[in-house]
């Protein structure tokens, strides 16, 4: 069993349609740990020691957040700035995260077609996540493409929230039970709920 830690970050929860549902799903799953970063640090005063010991105690870290200005919500950046210390996460003696995994679960307001050379976002979604990907490399974390929902603004009207939430549940449980196929996932651009790289239980 993998020890999975879900970090949820959303500064405007009251108005969230999708992420609040996803957070509810993650919170309910047995034997994984769930942290609402904005609830824990509403004043951005991150407890570095505590966060680092959390990281040491888990095998897989998953950050769940809505894309905000082509990046993470600001508290996630603050968390990265403070917690991934030199000598802990990288640099001389910084091997605390060696062999662990980094996963993402993001939602993007724009539809998938927008993230293309002729779309209005011009670049694929993964391009905007490059800083996180390279952060993982520097910290010896294996990076997995993001579990993604495009067009989240319209997702409610188009009944796409429930399937995405159900996919999220299956994904988290698969990671927990070592049934998630990280090798297959690594080949994907983004992971979506209709093509989850999960082995069945018998194979595990």
């Amino acid at each position: 069993m993998a020890r999975l830690l879900v970090y949820y970050a959303h500064p405007g929860q009251r108005h969230s349609r999708l992420n609040r549902v996803l957070a509810g799903v993650a919170r309910e799953i047995a034997e994984i740990n769930f942290v609402d970063l904005y609830a824990e640090y509403p004043r951005h005063d991150i407890d570095i020691d505590r966060e680092q010991s959390r990281l040491v105690d888990h095998d897989v870290l998953l950050f769940q957040f809505p894309m905000f200005w082509y990046s993470t919500p600001s508290l996630v950046k603050e968390w990265i700035d403070l917690v991934l210390e030199h000598g802990f996460a990288y640099g001389k003696g910084g091997d605390a995260l060696y062999g662990k995994r980094l996963m993402l679960a993001v939602s993007a307001g724009a539809p998938e077609e927008a993230y293309a050379p002729d779309g209005y976002q011009k670049y694929p979604l993964r391009r905007f996540l490059l800083p996180l990907e390279q952060t993982a490399v520097l910290c010896h974390l294996a990076f997995t493409p993001p579990y993604t929902l495009y067009g989240s603004l319209r997702a409610g009207d188009e009944s796409r929230i429930d399937p995405h939430a159900e996919g999220y549940r299956r994904l988290l449980e698969a990671v927990r039970d070592d049934r998630f196929d990280f090798d297959a996932a690594a080949e994907m651009d983004v992971i979506t709920c209709d093509a989850l790289p999960i082995r069945n239980a018998a194979m595990a």
Binding site: G12, Q13, H15, Y38, G109, Y120, L153
Partner: protein
């Protein structure tokens, strides 16, 4: 009685006239007093006043001054000065005595007389030098500390000198000296005792001063502080110094040294600043009188009759002393221009010279004629001291300014923060400041409270922070900031007003008790005003929101918005506030308050639309319509 009143009036008035003039001209108060004394001397002559006996009385000002200096000097600091105290001070006394004695022998005096003259002239004036250095704020500079070391050693050296003088007596002169023993105060008590007994009694007396200072003074002052009577405190403080001086005199020690010791013992006590402010005016008055008597005691008849000889002797003495002092300053590593401050500052003979002279005459060492002339040399060298300081200021200091070799002043107490009040509000401020490495001086007038804080190792001083003299003693002149954390509304306002008026450079952080108090303080001149329960109330409210199920980050945003709104409305209402009217009777104020409250409530709850709430501005997302517009634009651009 009327004589006494007349004399008191003459002295006070002379000081009041002369000192401001001298200060304005940049000469310092000492020269002002000396000049006043010179101008007064004909009048005092006419009144038949015994100037010398007044002088002996006023010398007690020196005792008070040394007590005050001791208060400023923690034992640790004194210990760190030991090398200079013994080395610099000791060598200055010995070398100067030797040279002056040699010169006197060369001028035809017998060696015993010459040695007596050497001892008389080797001493410098503690009163003039310390008063001047203190006024200039350079007591804690390198040169100031070196000067202090030498002066302290000299004060101690007076004792063996008094013991030595009678041994130099010339048989022919001795019949005039019947009452020699009584002159040095209480030597009588020690007479007939063996040397080891005297030493034992002396050590015992010092032990008494130290242990009383350490263990008895605090409970006594705490008891008195509870009575809350200012004059009682002053009386006890004076009694403390006078008693110490008396004890020292009885066992044949220098009273100045004794009170200095008492001061050092009390330097760590919480009553330090209160003691300072109680004693300080007495010291100032007595020293003033002392300086006036020095000026008044100059025998002009004799001076004009032998003007050249006496001036030559005086200048010669000053030259010798400057040379010795400068040489020693070089050896002991006194820096740059401080060497000159030290050498020129200590170049005069001092008030202990007067004491030694009259004792020497009484012991039959010196003849009356010689003593008269030496008295003039001592007095004129003292009179010239302010001029030497002026020479230093005009000729020497400017050369060291701007040449890049001026080192930072070693003034260690600059830029401190005074925290007035150390209760629940001030205590936390103080801990925060100390934790960040700032030096604070904490004042509080709850004696029991202080005791508790002291137990935790927090440095606090007893005293009512709203009294200017106490603030002065606590160093408001050098402080960069005053944090007013006391809990009496009117006292806070008055303190702000006083500080803004008298110390406009001191930054004020003021505690306000409520909103209308904020307006009051603003009107009084404070610009950094903190309502004492505002922030904690907001936190309590936020905590309540969280407990009611609101997401902690939303609760945080709500609290921030509330604080912003409150500040904005406070600024808006400031114009309507009328200090002469209770707020609930101020109709315009009440009306506008109601309007603002209604507006705020509406805004906080949010409008009917999705993102009507101001807290959500940062999180307002693009709408589907926005997305479609951008989409269309980008397509149009591509085609």
């Amino acid at each position: 009685m009327s004589d006494f009143l007349l004399l008191t009036f003459v002295f006070l008035a002379a000081g009041a006239v002369a000192v401001p003039i001298a200060s304005r001209l940049g000469f310092g108060s000492v020269l002002g007093y000396l000049m006043a004394g010179i101008l007064l001397s004909p009048l005092l002559d006419a009144l038949g006043v015994d100037v010398i006996s007044i002088q002996h009385f006023a010398e007690f000002g020196v005792v008070l001054m040394l007590f005050l200096i001791g208060l400023e000097l923690e034992p640790r600091l004194l210990w760190s000065m030991r090398r200079r105290l013994l080395g610099l001070g000791g060598l200055q006394v010995v070398v100067t005595i030797l040279i002056v004695t040699g010169v006197a022998v060369a001028l035809g005096q017998r060696w015993q007389v010459a040695l007596a003259i050497g001892m008389v002239l080797a001493l410098s004036s503690t009163a003039i030098v310390l008063q001047t250095l203190n006024e200039r704020g350079s007591l804690k500079s390198d040169g100031g500390e070196a000067s202090f070391s030498v002066l302290l050693f000299q004060d101690i050296a007076v004792i063996p000198m008094l013991a030595l003088l009678p041994l130099l007596a010339v048989p022919g002169l001795h019949e005039t000296a019947a009452a020699d023993g009584s002159h040095s105060g209480g030597f009588g008590l020690m007479e007939g005792l063996a040397g080891w007994q005297q030493a034992l009694i002396t050590a015992g007396a010092i032990g008494v001063v130290v242990s009383l200072g350490s263990y008895l003074v605090r409970p006594v002052f705490r008891y008195i502080a509870l009575a809350n009577l200012r004059e009682l405190f002053t009386a006890v403080a004076l009694a403390l110094v006078v008693g110490t001086a008396l004890l020292m005199t009885v066992v044949g020690l220098s009273p100045a040294l004794g009170s200095f010791l008492a001061g050092v013992v009390l330097a760590n006590s919480e009553y330090r600043h209160e003691l300072e402010s109680s004693i300080d005016p007495f010291k100032g008055l007595l020293l003033g009188v002392f300086f006036i008597t020095v000026g008044a005691a100059i025998n002009f008849e004799l001076l004009f009759a032998e003007f050249e000889t006496i001036m030559a002797l005086t200048l010669g003495l000053i030259l010798i002393k400057v040379a010795v002092l400068y040489g020693l300053a070089l050896i002991f590593g006194v820096r740059n221009q401080h060497r000159w401050l030290f050498a020129l500052g200590l170049a005069q003979a001092g008030e202990f010279g007067f004491v030694l002279l009259s004792f020497a005459v009484a012991s039959g060492v010196l003849g009356a004629g010689l003593s008269e002339r030496l008295l003039l040399v001592v007095a004129i060298s003292m009179l010239l001291t302010p001029l030497l300081f002026i020479v230093y200021d005009r000729a020497i200091r400017p050369r060291h300014l701007g040449t890049g070799q001026r080192e930072p002043d070693a003034i260690d107490e600059r830029g401190t923060v005074i925290v007035a009040g150390s209760g629940r509000f001030g205590g936390i401020i103080n801990r925060l400041l100390i934790g960040a490495g700032y030096k604070t001086v904490v004042l509080d007038y709850h004696a029991e409270h202080l005791e508790r804080l002291r137990a935790f190792g927090i440095k606090v001083f007893f005293g009512d922070a709203t009294r200017p003299d106490l603030l002065h003693a606590a160093g408001i002149d050098e402080a960069s900031m005053l944090v007013i954390a006391i809990d009496d509304r009117d006292k806070i306002t008055n303190l702000v007003r006083w500080t803004v008026e008298n110390h406009p450079d001191v930054y004020i952080v003021a505690r306000a008790l409520d909103r209308s108090h904020v307006y009051e303080l603003w009107a009084a001149g404070a610009r950094d005003i903190i309502r004492d329960t505002f922030d904690s109330s907001i936190r309590a409210g936020r905590s309540a929101l969280e407990a009611l199920g609101m997401h902690p980050y939303d609760a945080e945003l709500q609290a921030r918005q509330f604080a912003r709104d409150d500040k904005a409305s406070m600024r808006e209402l400031a114009d309507l506030y009328d200090p002469n009217m209770p707020v609930h009777l101020n109709r315009a104020y009440v009306e506008r308050t109601r309007e603002i409250l209604a507006e705020q409530e509406k805004a906080m709850r949010g409008g009917p639309q999705m993102f009507g709430d101001r807290n959500d501005r940062a999180w307002e997302r693009p709408t589907q319509a926005d997305v479609e517009t951008v989409e269309a634009e980008s397509k149009a651009a591509a085609e």
